[in-house]
């Protein structure tokens, strides 16, 4: 398995809370804490899953802080900020004060267009607080998505627009596949590419070896561990790393903590 940083393995792509479109077993923080301990993950940045579909995520953020309070040694909150709501700047300030490790936003669920100016403003404001902005491409495979889930996948255009917002921006994109990653990465300048990390939760391993190919072409440090627990098995990204071919088997992953101090 690819070595993590000296701070241990970080999973920035986990949630607590119910998923509105199907039953997810035990999406509670105490279970999450046990799972990451079992799997050798030292820290997780935790989002509040229902907030992705909330008109106002404020209550969800409060619930998130409260739920994680007993587990803050290993679980850090990644609250949701909607930049189209009045007062979002103060909500971001409050999040930073509450110890947020990152901020989450969900443009497809909020029906934002790819060039939404508010998303660029949010990305820049997060950068000012040294907080990475986490974007989620999808929560489920398109083929099994509920008819009630009308949000499409996050597009490459939307990711590129955020990555181009400014120098200090740092984005973690969760649940992207190889095509989307390549579309975005090679559509950015070198400076813009360096602002984006990709979690490996949805990247195929062998025999197609998409993860290995991306490590070779884009560089392993642009990638971070990510599971999308509780929606998906945390064992999957670990297995993917363990099945890498020998030339990239020990390639180091990126670590957003080195930038954010989170």
């Amino acid at each position: 398995m690819a070595p993590s940083s000296s701070a241990g393995l970080l999973d920035p792509s986990v949630f607590i809370g119910e998923y509105p479109f199907r039953d997810v077993p035990h999406p509670e923080p105490d279970i999450l804490a046990k799972v990451i301990a079992r799997e050798g993950i030292t820290h997780a940045w935790v989002g509040h899953l229902p907030s992705a579909w909330a008109d106002d995520p404020t209550a969800g953020n409060v619930a998130l802080y409260r739920a994680l309070e007993p587990f803050r040694v290993t679980l850090s909150p990644a609250p949701t900020i909607r930049p189209d709501l009045p007062g979002w700047e103060s909500a971001l300030h409050d999040a930073a004060k509450a110890g947020a490790a990152a901020i989450r936003a969900y443009p497809p669920q909020w029906k934002f267009t790819p060039d939404n100016a508010a998303m660029r403003e949010l990305a820049l404001a997060c950068a000012a607080h040294k907080l990475p902005l986490i974007l989620t491409v999808r929560f489920e495979d398109l083929r099994q998505r509920s008819a009630r889930d009308t949000a499409g996948d996050l597009t490459g255009a939307a990711i590129r627009a955020v990555a181009r917002a400014g120098d200090g921006v740092r984005v973690i994109v969760s649940a992207a596949g190889r095509d989307l990653i390549e579309e975005v990465h090679w559509g950015l300048t070198a400076a813009e590419q360096a602002r984006v990390w990709w979690d490996i939760s949805w990247i195929w391993g062998p025999p197609e070896d998409h993860l290995a190919k991306l490590f070779r072409t884009i560089g392993s440090t642009r990638f971070v561990f990510g599971s999308q627990w509780p929606l998906r098995l945390v064992q999957s990204p670990k297995a993917n790393l363990e099945l890498l071919p020998s030339d990239v088997a020990n390639a180091p992953l990126g670590d957003p903590r080195t930038w954010s101090g989170g």
Partner: protein
């Protein structure tokens, strides 16, 4: 075909704890020169590389025509079916006991399909692979099933977990469709493909729960939490097969996730790893010594 040789010094990682038991991948595919990809050898070698690392004892595999190069993957032409089966036979001859063959056929061409079945069974194939060329409950599948019954061949059927509409490039079938076929051929075993391969697996579990001559393979890129739990509860471990299809890392993840479900005994896990496959394909299908 030359495959990547196993590095015997590597630790096998295919499950929790020390693994010494066999592991049979009941749903695998290989590429070949006729599929229009210059990297086909590398993809095949990657399957063996990862398989060796996971401890896969045998890849039960098929080739799906030309994979879209000269006819559609899910509607392969007779010529592409034959070319793919020929390539699969060559792989089996080269690889010995670590590969066994499923025969791909297109049921729209009955005579050709039966000829392919006969030809490949004589050369050691152990099962039948159907894509999505015809709905699973279509009468055109009956002659194929009659052949399979007579020769004790399991039939692996590509499945969309709950079809709610048509999708392009496939005539998709779901668990209910396969269930109707299975009830018409009660003496043979059907393998419902990839519960993690897209669609609503919960529908599948309900649809085939009472059709006991259908087993399900756990492959597919989907690794939803709760999927294995649902499969074990609805079908029992004795009706589940370890498999990887196109994503071996998700196969390994699901293998490792069996124990934490708390729903499987150690012997149940052995059933899913290999014992069910031996029961379904026959004791002579594998050399696991």
């Amino acid at each position: 075909m030359n495959s990547a040789s196993a590095d015997k010094s590597e630790v096998v990682i295919g499950g929790p704890g020390v693994i010494s038991s066999p592991l049979i991948d009941a749903h695998a595919h290989f590429l070949h020169a006729g599929c229009g990809r210059s990297d086909w050898r590398e993809v095949n070698a990657a399957r063996f590389r990862a398989g060796d690392r996971m401890g896969i004892s045998c890849h039960v595999a098929s080739i799906l025509g030309s994979y879209g190069y000269s006819s559609p993957t899910y509607f392969p032409s007779p010529a592409d079916v034959t070319a793919g089966n020929d390539a699969m036979l060559e792989i089996c001859a080269a690889e010995g006991r670590r590969v066994r063959m499923m025969i791909t056929v297109n049921p729209n061409y009955t005579a050709h399909a039966l000829n392919e079945l006969e030809r490949c069974v004589q050369r050691g194939a152990i099962g039948v692979k159907l894509l999505a060329s015809r709905r699973a409950d279509d009468p055109l599948l009956d002659p194929i099933c009659e052949f399979a019954t007579a020769h004790k061949l399991p039939l692996l059927h590509h499945i969309w977990q709950h079809r709610t509409r048509e999708w392009p490039n496939q005539e998709i079938s779901d668990g209910a469709d396969l269930g109707r076929l299975a009830k018409r051929h009660p003496k043979m075993t059907f393998i419902l493909a990839h519960i993690g391969g897209g669609g609503d697996y919960r529908h599948t579990f309900e649809a085939i729960g009472g059709v006991t001559n259908i087993v399900a393979d756990i492959s597919g890129s989907g690794v939803d939490r709760g999927m294995l739990d649902g499969a074990i509860k609805a079908l029992t471990p004795q009706r589940l097969l370890f498999a990887t299809d196109l994503t071996m890392e998700t196969g390994l993840a699901k293998l490792r996730a069996l124990e934490p479900t708390g729903l499987c005994t150690a012997n149940d896990i052995e059933d899913i790893r290999w014992q069910n496959a031996v029961r379904i394909f026959g004791a002579n299908a594998f050399d696991l010594s």
